[in-house]
Amino acid sequence: MSLETLDSGQEHIASAISDEVVIELSKVNKWYGEFHVLKDIDLTVYKGERIVICGPSGSGKSTLIRCINRLEEHQQGDILVNGVTMDTNLKNIDAIRRDVGMVFQSFNLFPHLTVLENCTLAPIWVRNTPKAEADRLAMQLLERVKIPEQAAKYPGQLSGGQQQRVAIARSLAMNPNIMLFDEPTSALDPEMISEVLDVMVGLAESGMTMLVVTHEMGFAKRVADRVIFMDQGEIVEQNTPGEFFNNPKSDRTKLFLSQILAH
């Protein structure tokens, strides 16, 4: 988790935050059985904003972003995504999921489909894109993540870094306006981490709204508009990276930062 992971320069990438709200969580509560995992979460994300979420293991980071595309169901409070309320209405859920892409720690590529088919599956079946069109788009995206030559291979034949890049391309193929990342680099070997972070930096440069759960503090410093620190199901502190790293407010944050930067 060294700050040197990104070899290119360290200056912060300019952001283009509009004042359009794309995600709004208010008083969101969630329980697993008796266990209170999200406590009164309030969070507003503006269009084009890039948010990094960090916090100790088990603090509810994954749960939080998984609530945003309804991989988990929250029990209290409201979640609005792109103005659509997250409730039990299947139409709403579909609409939200179409606009929100997600990248998982363990890639979750479909092993029975080629890389290209992985990227065209959703456009063809959800967006009714013609195949030729979908293929073209997918190839563009694969070029963007720098692996166009792997299009015909199966996921099992790729290295971890390549697989994660395919996963990003696959999400982008649905042309989402929000991307969620859940520890996208933590299953990777050190050499491969930078490959994937490079792609994510590129994405940030293009103005995508991003929520990233990660412990890559170099990435956070360089890309994030806001860093959110969670513990025990709460948002303890949120701030710009500069303030967050240099001037943390809460004692909990300080403790966490001292641990994570000790490596």
């Binding site: 959703a122 195949k131 069109e133």
Partner: protein
């Protein structure tokens, strides 16, 4: 240790001990011993057998196959009369075995899928019911289950006079299940042609729909349209040509229903028992197969916006099949083998008519048992060849 000259002690004459220590010699030796032992045992058995046959005045050879069997068989698919030969009995038995196994395989597979999916249902009650279904069926002997279906269900159906009837066309009673038999009249050929055409057309529509989707992205309700063509076209032609098909309805005459097509209760009971017993095993295969696809796959599909149905069809099932099919196919094999328990309730399968009745009548134990084994082995070989082929087909590409 002195400095060695190159290749010094290689070619020296070797003692017996040394010779016996040679890997290759040993390998040949072991194999020779095994081969000799096997051949000796085989010869011993063969000699004994021929002596025994002679001593007991029993004949051997396959001449008996052309002899008259003399007994009749309750229900056959192939035409058969008491005057036919033993070889005919063999064939009749094979076909009877295959018929009941094939039908059982089809239904057991369907039921297995339903039960396997039920067991994974979020509804606690349903998944528990499925779980107990599997446990109860897997843990009681099939033989008992066959007897149960036969004695406690099919034997308790009403007699022919009180049959359960449906539309006066289908009847179920303790003599079996009766259906109308179609009797094609003049001009029915056209309907047949229409059926073939409809199949071709459905296929064409499917291909076209796929193409169109690929080209324009539009999805098409192939299934419903196909269904329409498949049934609509033949019915139209059928009506247009003046309905040239009559049915031979089963009707109560004398003791029983006459005419139509019928299957005896033993068939129904055996079918049901095999189907239900094996569906429990198949349900397990299905469950294991689906569970073998990690939950991450579902989540990934959902987060791409795929709906549950599509996720199942495009992502989960293709991957699950890889794990489901091999145990499923060996289960099919077991259905065929287990159909031999038909003997307990009098369904005339191969073992019942050939290894039991024919063997008893003719006394040609060795030939008959060998022929029966040959049949089962060919089935098993065919199935395992199919399995290997499938495994090759679906192997995941790895680095």
């Amino acid at each position: 240790m002195a400095v060695l000259e190159k290749g010094s002690p290689r070619r020296q004459s070797r003692s017996i001990i040394e010779w016996l220590n040679d890997e290759r010699v040993r390998s040949v030796l072991y194999q020779a011993i095994v081969a000799i032992a096997v051949i000796a045992v085989a010869r011993y058995l063969f000699v004994n057998t021929s002596e025994n046959l002679q001593a007991r005045g029993m004949s051997s050879g396959f001449d008996f196959l052309s002899g008259t069997a003399g007994f009749s068989i309750a229900w056959t698919v192939l035409p058969y009369e008491a005057g036919d030969s033993y070889f005919r009995v063999y064939l009749v038995g094979i076909v009877n075995t295959l018929i009941v196994s094939l039908v059982a395989i089809v239904f057991a597979t369907l039921l297995g899928f339903i039960m396997g999916i039920m067991r994974l249902s979020k509804n606690w009650l349903i998944s528990k019911i499925a779980a107990w279904y599997v446990e109860i069926l897997r843990n009681t002997p099939l033989l008992l289950q066959i007897l149960f279906w036969f004695l406690a269900v099919f034997s308790l159906l009403p007699p022919p006079r009180g049959s359960f009837g449906l539309l006066d066309m289908f009847f179920l009673n303790n003599r079996g299940f009766y259906m109308p038999a179609p009797v094609p009249g003049a001009g029915f050929d056209y309907t047949m042609i229409a059926i073939l055409l409809a199949i071709a057309a459905t296929y064409a529509v499917a291909v076209w729909a796929k193409k169109r989707q690929m080209a324009t992205g539009q999805q098409f309700h192939t299934f419903w349209v196909g269904l329409g063509i498949l049934f609509g076209l033949p019915i139209l032609v059928f009506l247009a040509t003046g309905s040239p098909l009559s049915f031979d309805f089963a009707a109560l005459k004398g003791f029983n229903f006459q005419g139509g097509v019928s299957v005896p209760p033993a068939f129904c009971a055996l079918l049901l028992a095999l189907m239900i017993y094996h569906s429990a095993f198949m349900a397990e295969a299905v469950r294991a197969g689906i569970l073998s696809v990690s939950h991450g796959q579902t989540e990934a599909a959902y987060s791409l916006g795929l709906r549950p149905g599509m996720t199942l069809r495009l992502v989960i099932i293709p991957q699950a099949m890889r794990a489901v099919v091999p145990p499923m196919i060996s289960n099919w094999m077991n259905v065929v083998k287990n159909s031999s328990l038909a003997i307990a309730i009098g369904y005339p399968d191969l073992v019942a008519v050939y290894m039991q009745t024919s063997l008893n009548q003719s006394g040609h134990a060795i030939e008959i048992v060998a022929m029966v084994m040959l049949f089962y082995m060919s089935v098993s070989l065919t199935i395992s060849m199919a399995l290997n082929y499938y495994n090759k087909l679906v192997q995941l590409k790895e680095r």
